[in-house]
Subunit: 259 residues, 2 copies
Amino acid sequence: MSGLYAQLQVNPYGGCYLSATQLAGATTEQLTELLIELQTSPYKLCWLELAAADSALAAFLVNHGFVFHHCQASQLMLVKKLQPDAYLPLAATHTIGVGAAVLNEQGQILLVREQPLAGQAPGYWKLPGGMVEPHEHIELAAQREVKEETGIDAEFVRLISLRHHHHGQFGASNFYMVAVMQALSVDIKHDPVEIAQARWFAPTEFFSDEKASPYNKLLVEAALSGHGWDSVKVTGYRQSPELYEMFVDPAVFERRFGQ
Amino acid sequence: MSGLYAQLQVNPYGGCYLSATQLAGATTEQLTELLIELQTSPYKLCWLELAAADSALAAFLVNHGFVFHHCQASQLMLVKKLQPDAYLPLAATHTIGVGAAVLNEQGQILLVREQPLAGQAPGYWKLPGGMVEPHEHIELAAQREVKEETGIDAEFVRLISLRHHHHGQFGASNFYMVAVMQALSVDIKHDPVEIAQARWFAPTEFFSDEKASPYNKLLVEAALSGHGWDSVKVTGYRQSPELYEMFVDPAVFERRFGQ
């Protein structure tokens, strides 16, 4: 049994796996030996993770039937089905964006106009928002984006909508969720790089603005309605509520877990 | 100006890009020439996409400051910041799952017990569901998963909850959304590979089952409540409603777009 085969870690769906650390400095001779041993192994899938420094091995693995599965900046995961019926779990498919309908104590709503990208016409008044960073909660992402774009501090109240489309960048699909937030400050200091203008609107002024998009008007309507999904914590779900967020209609939560 | 530099495509955020087709069979000499020309170019980012057959070039690019960004089975995208303040857009960060609370005409709910993965204890009664495939709408994914797991035909009614966590496979985060569906058929034929048991439950029976999880009881409560978000189409949003799904409280939609 070769050195690499002996180090294989078992993972779900009948897979075996070697980490970038385990493969560091591996030779094509060692990989050849491993691949021969895998032919008579019980495994259904083989996952091999290459550090960027070992990229030269990628061509060898591709020539031996491996495909790319997912990557980080300095690591590339390749996978090979050892049995044709093996279930191959999906890598990440979606980017996530979050918008915020921030209301102040006067019932006004915070809207921005983004700086146009090169060669594009300026956009019109819309909700502030942006991309959710890796491993960031939606509630915190909404707070961060509002602060970055407008300088306003705000706290999460509830989710009011969800949009799903398949024309995102890099072949990824996109979810865009929108939260209602309560403003905790008043004075706007917009980010001049990303945002051209930011100001508080009376909802009636925004609704009568013919240039504003019907979609953004729907979101403001939803923000004012009081409808939406609260962030709830279900006792006994996972070890720690910090590990997840869960959103549902508050009346439903009350009916099941209230007094 | 080298052959590769002349073929550069401009893309958003000040980037330039060569496709896998443009780079097919490129030599390290050609890439060296390109990298020298990029040093005095106006571009902020350089994206180079390698076909699997050109994987041997990955090591060269990594040695010259490129990092992995995203991949498909047979294509790998590498990127380099040419200016240190360049904005690098995120690749996909999330996998998406969908569960379905399928109700029949008797008000019963369809629940399944999954076959355990190797080395794991059998799970308990829960909603059917699974992963959303690349470029699949949530409504269709819910329908497909219910059909695959239980043989039941069902149609989407509304979304009732959303869960977000960061302990998914491969370092990805996960969104799990749950839909209420109306059953269009009665006879269950469960998938024996993935599902150990499937049957219709009276909600009262499920609610009094001490082994059922509080989270799944919350979802059944939400399914019965009539609360949730409908799939809506906003006139004038995008060219075609087939390109996106949009979910919001139906009362809000009615208030804005109703008669």
